[in-house]
């Protein structure tokens, strides 16, 4: 693309020579000197009849029923004094259509993706000097009228053609705008983006090559680096990029002041919360020589004194740790996920109300708690289940809910219970929520280190695991053992008919598993939990979902 | 050099061509009547052809040994007559003399056409034919079937209906009954049928029933001549039957005629190849025409259209051919006559065999110009005399310089000239079911390859075969396409076909043209 700065209005010829129509096939070469002041994208002939004068009429593929429809569009373009007609290349343009275009003195061009070209042309047309000035001043005025992060970024997305903008934290958390602005894959902006509107692979490459990412650092009110305003520019040209960058810079001050009101960045807050939580739980008990919760960092203070100090710190931070509360532990379904990276997104997604307790990142998941008179495990379970189902949660999670507690001590206990319950839920799939109170002794099973047991269990249950429906059978067996052999309860818990359970039990028995021998039952129970917890029974690559 | 000959009931008309130019022409007024021989006037003579016996006629005297074959006598004359020196430059004349004749192309359509209506006892008379139809049901009106064309009715001595037939997809509608076939065959053979035309419903899509009937006929009488409608191809039971009946009726006549022509050609020095013009403006070998004489009908007009356009040096034209009473108007596109299948021929019969699209309009000298003007394509109009008697009518049209048509006046029979200029060709006409554009493309590509293969098989120069037209026309209501493929070939170096764009650069003026020895044309 040429660096030529176009000062006046663009002509069709200039759009072809320097602009987005460079890849278009031109059928009628006369009258390319027509001025183009805008773009009209038409998706039916009635829209074509309303085409704005002096605009480029871009015929969307849905309007191109055939050559006749293209000719009808040409006619409308002529009647409305359009500058040129751009059609999808899926329409076979033959001599007669070219002849018509020439008769009507209208340039006729075809492109692979008219909708995209329409956008690019809108950008190019907006990129003349006068248009640039108009656009910049309009954005500046609008920035002054918006007081939220979202509103300010929204101005860019709405007003600047071909630009997708977003405000993200340093660690990639989206604060405002459209996530698509910052979704270039790690190897740079040249790989295919998610803009799948285009057809073939070649179009992808071409599009991607023309995309450009702009980033402007936005300081917090105290002047430190806080967030980045990023923009994906789909039709970059040197002068246009400059324009977009100018607009992004204009947005910095309004963003900084809008952001100052809100607190520190979430990531910053997350690490602070974690430190505080680890301090709070520092003297927690251990189970089988293993700390249920991570030990506080070396160098952190020990003893009751420090715990009291920590409690005060928590109150200072605004944590609601007085009165009745119920703890919740969130845990990723796949334990090997990088939790540090996921934390800000999870934190942001979880929060509905700033007044509630923070979601505190821990080494193996996230902890939080519910307070108030209605902090009851059942209600909490329902609430957690709903939140886990939210599409904003970026990775599969399960959760455990503790029993009610009072004050700091109660929180500690409830948190431990929640962690145990989460361990139990972990074996059972995405969005699974377990309440410690209903788990009973199974919590012990869930707390057992599973890796070594899984090896033994695989041997023990080899016949069952060989079954094509191994996972279903294993789940049924586990539930049956959990329910002390009651097929009715098992059916309720699995949400299937009792006859289904009976059928599966028959199948399980057919695999040589003796459900009636009391001395085998515990071993079997442990083995089942171990396998479920390690995901052994799952089909390769497909995460299990309950039912 | 090439020779073209028009064979008619009233004479033999020959032309010797070199690179698309007429070197010499001879005619014998009537077969076996050697006294009517004459030579055309000198080239520079603007007088029309007819009724002017050439004073210097020594060469027209037939050699005694040629008495039996006027065709051969004519060919010899064409080769031996001294060229009229005034009409060639010194440089080209010797070359012309020494060059061998590579081909002789015959138009026998005149005799074939008259054979269809010839009375008993005529030398060339089409034989009567038995017609078998394979139909799902015996027709009620007309009872037992029938044909709308009087000539077909007169040629069919006996009719039989056999139960059977397919639809256009090739699905069997009614199973062929062996007993009904056997009974029909019995009856026809008992009636003395020597040639049988078999037309099956849906045979263009599936020929099984026709073939089974033919097999039964041949099993009973191996010497009976059987023609099957799917060989003619095309859509329409009656159209295919007409083609098949004509074919069967002409087998014998064509065989005799072709043999005579081949003998005459073989007797020439240098053993030139022997060809016959077909109704689509192409040419085929005698062997091919013996098998399918119906394609030789309407060949004369096709050849004349080619001759007139070629001599006018245009590839694209409306051509008006004048005889004493009428103008026959046709079109030439890219050097070949515009043809269609299913046309009603000059004999009033609609057949599936392609022929040139022509209109015959009876005109008087005074209205000829107006008639031509209303049909003009505004590209290039050419007028030539189809018969000597038509010269007067052609003359009556305005001159080219006055905005009238380009007049072509070779001192030769225009049909014979055109015949010499023809090239091997092929025509394929079939129905294919197609649900997808890809399926249609595949069928069309196959048909195109077959047509090109046929042109090569019919004797085209290697590599010269090309597609003239390939159309896939949607057949209404059903997902069926009618594929029509016409293939032609470029001739050898001696054809003198106008190059592409020849129409745009015609010879400038008549006098100059003749002076430069572009013989045969005059304006």
């Amino acid at each position: 693309m040429s660096a030529q700065r176009v000062t006046g209005q663009l002509t069709v010829a200039q759009l072809i020579r320097f602009g987005p129509l460079g890849s278009a096939r031109c059928y009628s070469e006369a009258h390319l000197e027509r001025l183009v002041t805008g773009v009209t994208l038409v998706s039916d002939l009635d829209e074509a009849r309303q085409c704005e004068p002096k605009t480029a009429m871009v015929v969307h593929p849905v309007a191109a029923h055939g050559v006749w429809a293209l000719e009808a569009a040409l006619r409308c373009a002529w009647e409305r004094n359009a500058a040129c007609v751009v059609a999808p290349d899926s329409v076979m343009v033959r001599a007669s259509t070219t002849q018509l275009a020439e008769r009507l003195r209208l340039p006729l061009l075809t492109v692979a993706d008219p909708a995209r070209i329409a956008l690019d042309m809108a950008v190019a047309i907006a990129d003349t000097e006068a248009a640039r000035a108009r656009l910049i001043s309009r954005c500046a005025v609008l920035f002054g009228e918006r007081f939220s992060l979202r509103g300010i970024v929204g101005v860019i997305n709405a007003e600047v053609p071909g630009v997708i903008a977003a405000l993200v934290t340093k660690d990639g958390h989206l604060l405002a705008g459209r996530a698509a602005a910052d979704t270039f894959p790690p190897d740079g902006p040249n790989a295919p983006g998610e803009d799948a509107a285009t057809g073939g692979a070649s179009a992808f490459a071409e599009d991607a090559a023309e995309e450009h990412r702009l980033a402007v650092a936005v300081p917090s009110a105290d002047g430190r680096a806080w967030a980045t305003l990023v923009a994906r520019v789909s039709a970059p040209g040197p002068s246009w990029t400059e324009t977009v960058e100018t607009i992004l810079r204009l947005a910095r001050a309004p963003l900084a002041s809008a952001g100052a009101g809100s607190r520190l960045s979430l990531a910053h807050q997350g690490s602070r919360d974690r430190l505080l939580m680890e301090t709070l739980l520092g003297e927690g008990p251990t189970v089988q020589g293993r700390r249920l919760l991570p030990s506080p960092r070396a160098g952190a203070s020990h003893g009751a004194e420090s715990a009291v100090g920590a409690e005060e710190l928590a109150r200072d931070a605004g944590w609601p740790i007085d009165g009745r509360l119920v703890a919740v532990h969130l845990r990723p379904l796949q334990p090997d996920r990088d939790l540090e990276a996921a934390s800000p997104a999870i934190t942001a997604a979880w929060r509905e109300d700033l007044a509630e307790a923070p979601l505190v990142p821990l080494a193996n998941g996230w902890a939080t708690w519910y307070t108030g008179e209605d902090a009851h495990p059942r209600a909490v379970e329902r609430n957690v289940r709903r939140r886990l189902a939210s599409s904003r949660i970026p990775l599969p999670l399960c959760a455990g809910v503790g029993t009610e507690g009072e004050g700091m001590a109660g929180l500690r206990r409830s948190l431990r219970e929640a962690e145990l319950a989460a361990g139990s839920a972990g074996g059972q799939g995405d969005q699974r929520v377990e309440c410690y109170g209903e788990l009973g002794p199974r919590a012990v099973l869930a707390a057992l280190p599973v890796a070594e047991r899984a090896v033994a269990a695989r041997t023990l249950l080899a016949a069952l695991l060989a079954d094509p429906k191994a996972e279903v059978l294993l789940r049924t067996l586990t539930a049956l053992l959990d329910c002390a052999g009651s097929t009715g309860q098992t059916a309720t818990r699995l949400g299937v008919h009792r006859n289904t359970v009976l059928g599966r039990v028959e199948r399980i028995r057919a695999k040589g598993i003796d459900l009636d021998s009391p001395d085998q039952r515990l071993a079997l129970h442990v083995a089942c939990h171990a396998l479920l917890a390690t995901g052994e029974a799952r089909d390769s690559g497909r995460p299990a979902r309950p039912r | 050099m090439r020779i073209g000959v028009r064979l008619d009931t009233c004479g033999v008309y020959g032309a010797l061509l070199d690179r698309g130019r007429v070197l010499r022409a001879r005619s014998t007024r009537a077969l076996g009547d050697h006294t009517a021989d004459r030579l055309p006037g000198p080239r520079g003579d603007r007088d029309p052809l007819p009724e002017r016996p050439h004073p210097a006629a020594p060469h027209s005297a037939p050699h005694p040994r040629d008495r039996a074959s006027p065709e051969l006598a004519l060919l010899r004359e064409l080769l031996t007559a001294a060229p009229v020196s005034a009409h060639r430059t010194a440089s080209t004349a010797p070359a012309a003399r020494t060059k061998p004749v590579t081909s002789v192309t015959w138009d026998i359509s005149g005799i074939l056409e008259s054979a269809l209506t010839a009375p008993h006892g005529s030398r060339y008379r089409a034989q009567r034919v038995a017609a078998v139809r394979v139909l799902p049901r015996v027709p009620v009106a007309p009872a037992g079937g029938g044909h709308h064309a009087p000539i077909i009715t007169s040629l069919v001595s006996r009719r039989a209906v056999v139960a059977g037939g397919h639809d256009l997809f090739g699905t069997e509608l009614v199973a062929l009954e062996a007993e009904s076939v056997s009974a029909a065959v019995d009856e026809l053979l008992a009636g003395g049928a020597r040639a049988v035309a078999v037309t099956g419903t849906g045979a263009a899509a599936c020929s099984d029933h026709e073939v089974a009937v033919a097999a039964e006929l041949l099993r009973r009488r191996p010497d009976v001549r059987v023609c099957l409608s799917h060989e003619a191809g095309g859509l329409g039971l009656l159209e295919r039957e007409a083609a098949t009946v004509l074919n069967a009726a002409l087998l014998e006549v064509a065989d005799r005629l072709i043999s005579q022509c081949e003998e005459a050609t073989e007797a020439l020095a240098g053993s030139p190849s022997c060809w016959f013009v077909t109704g689509d403006g192409g040419r085929v070998t005698g062997r091919r025409l013996r098998w399918s004489p119906v394609t030789g009908l309407a060949a004369g007009i096709a050849a004349a259209l080619i001759g007139a356009a070629r001599l006018a040096r245009v590839a694209d034209a409306v051509v008006a051919l004048a005889d004493d009473r009428a103008l026959t108007i046709g079109q030439v596109r890219d050097g070949l006559p515009h043809i269609e299948a299913d046309l009603v021929g000059s004999n009033g019969i609609r057949t599936s065999v392609p022929q040139s699209v022509t209109t015959r309009i009876p005109v008087h000298r005074t209205s000829a110009a107006a008639q031509l003007a209303t049909r003009s394509r505004h590209t290039s109009d050419v007028v030539a005399a189809l018969r000597p008697e038509g010269a007067e009518l052609a003359e009556a049209l305005p001159r080219h310089a006055e905005g009238g048509p380009r007049q072509v006046r070779p001192d030769a029979d225009i049909t014979a000239v055109g015949a010499a200029m023809t090239e091997p060709s092929a025509w394929i006409d079939l129905l294919v079911p197609a649900d997808t554009p890809e399926g249609l493309d595949r069928h069309q590509a196959e048909a195109e390859q077959r047509a090109l293969g046929l042109v090569a098989a019919y004797g085209a120069h290697p590599g010269s075969a090309h597609l003239v037209r390939s159309t896939a026309t949607a057949v209404g209501y059903l997902r069926i396409y009618r594929l029509q493929v016409r293939a032609g070939s470029h001739g050898g170096p001696d054809t003198g076909r106008p190059a592409q764009g020849g129409a745009a650069a015609p010879e400038p003026a008549a006098g100059q043209a003749r002076g430069r020895s572009t013989a045969g044309e005059a304006q």
């Binding site: 039916d44 029923h65 | 949607a474 209404g476 209501y477 009618r482």
Partner: protein
């Protein structure tokens, strides 16, 4: 069966159709059907029936008592099957008898489903074989692809019960809604060879008043007389303008023939669209594009819709002065594009909804709607 009302005496007979009239009918049918192939087999059969049973009385609608039972006769299917399977001659009797048996009413008159294309001839054959008068009216005034696209249906008549007979003699009687009739019949037609003769729209003469296009058969004959008798181009065009209101939309040479991909809306029509361009090859004149699906449905001149179905669009060969059928249209043909206006009933909003361009998948307005906007 109810007693059939006696056909009225020959008062008000428009014409007695004999075999001698057939050439005119044959010539005329082609113009009102975007051309059409040779139908020699059908003509031969109808001529034989007329000779055998005597002339057919062509009567105007009001010449018959209103209670006279009648039904439409017409072929459903394609040209090509008709050529390959010419009628045996008794199909119309079989179809009418099957319908009479189903309805219990003996017919007193025959009407045409559509007096265009081969369907201009079949009602004559039916009337001749049955010894009944033929009412001079039809339900389309042209060819339309569905048997329920008629002014009969527009006026509320039911297309069914319907009896259909194939050339193989197979008979089917359909009892269904008018809306479903074409779809159901189509399956049977395709299986039976591609064309079936139908007796349908069983009704009475009284109920036909106001819903039939009157004078349809005599109109075809007048057009045919012009096409067979007039050999001057100007004279023919003037005659067609006089008799059927035909006007020349454009003249030129066929410069392109396309087989475009079918538009989405056209899927349920079993035809394959064809696009024809008529223009001046030198590139000076207007570009006329004709969009066709069996029939020419839309004419755009320089991209503007200038004529559309249900008006009849057809090509007239300027050289031969004959209609050019879509099957036979060829590149470089020199043609006039003619438009023959449809009956006023078709230009009502309901008529255009049923048989206007949008019914064929073209998202455009008929020029008549454009004017009234």
């Amino acid at each position: 069966m109810n007693g059939a009302p006696a056909p009225s005496p020959a008062t008000g007979v428009v014409h007695r159709i004999t075999a001698d009239d057939l050439p005119a009918v044959v010539a005329g049918h082609a113009l009102l059907s975007s051309g059409g192939g040779g139908i020699d087999g059908l003509t031969l059969s109808v001529a034989e029936l007329l000779r055998r049973h005597g002339p057919v009385e062509l009567v105007p609608l009001d010449a018959l008592p209103p209670e006279t039972h009648c039904a439409a006769v017409g072929l459903a299917g394609g040209f090509a099957p008709l050529l390959e399977l010419p009628p045996g001659g008794d199909e119309s009797v079989l179809a009418v008898r099957a319908l009479e048996e189903r309805t219990g009413n003996r017919l007193g008159a025959v009407v045409a489903l559509n007096s265009a294309g081969p369907n201009a001839l079949f009602p004559i054959a039916a009337a001749a074989s049955l010894g009944l008068p033929l009412v001079d009216c039809d339900g389309m005034g042209r060819i339309l692809p569905l048997i329920n696209m008629t002014t009969y249906a527009l006026g509320g008549l039911s297309a069914t019960p319907l009896a259909a007979v194939s050339q193989t003699g197979e008979t089917a009687v359909l009892d269904c809604s008018t809306a479903r009739s074409d779809r159901l019949l189509r399956g049977i037609v395709e299986a039976s060879g591609g064309a079936m003769l139908c007796a349908l729209y069983p009704t009475t003469v009284g109920r036909l008043r106001g819903v039939a296009i009157e004078g349809a058969t005599s109109r075809v004959m007048r057009v045919g007389e012009l096409l067979t008798g007039e050999n001057r181009h100007a004279g023919l065009l003037a005659g067609l303008a006089r008799t059927v209101g035909a006007r020349v939309l454009a003249s030129g040479q066929v410069t392109a023939l396309d087989l475009p991909t079918p538009s989405a809306g056209a899927r349920h029509f079993p035809s394959v669209p064809t696009s024809i361009v008529v223009s001046d090859p030198s590139g000076d004149g207007p570009v006329v594009r004709l969009e066709a699906q069996n029939e020419i449905l839309l004419a755009l001149i320089d991209g503007a819709v200038t004529a559309a179905v249900p008006d009849v669009l057809c090509l007239l060969d300027r050289q031969r002065l004959q209609p050019v059928s879509l099957e036979n249209v060829a590149l470089a043909d020199h043609v006039d594009v003619l438009v023959v206006p449809a009956a006023p009933m078709w230009h009502t909003p309901q008529g255009l909804a049923m048989a206007g361009p949008r019914a064929f998948g073209f998202p455009v307005r008929h020029p008549a709607e454009e004017v009234s906007r």
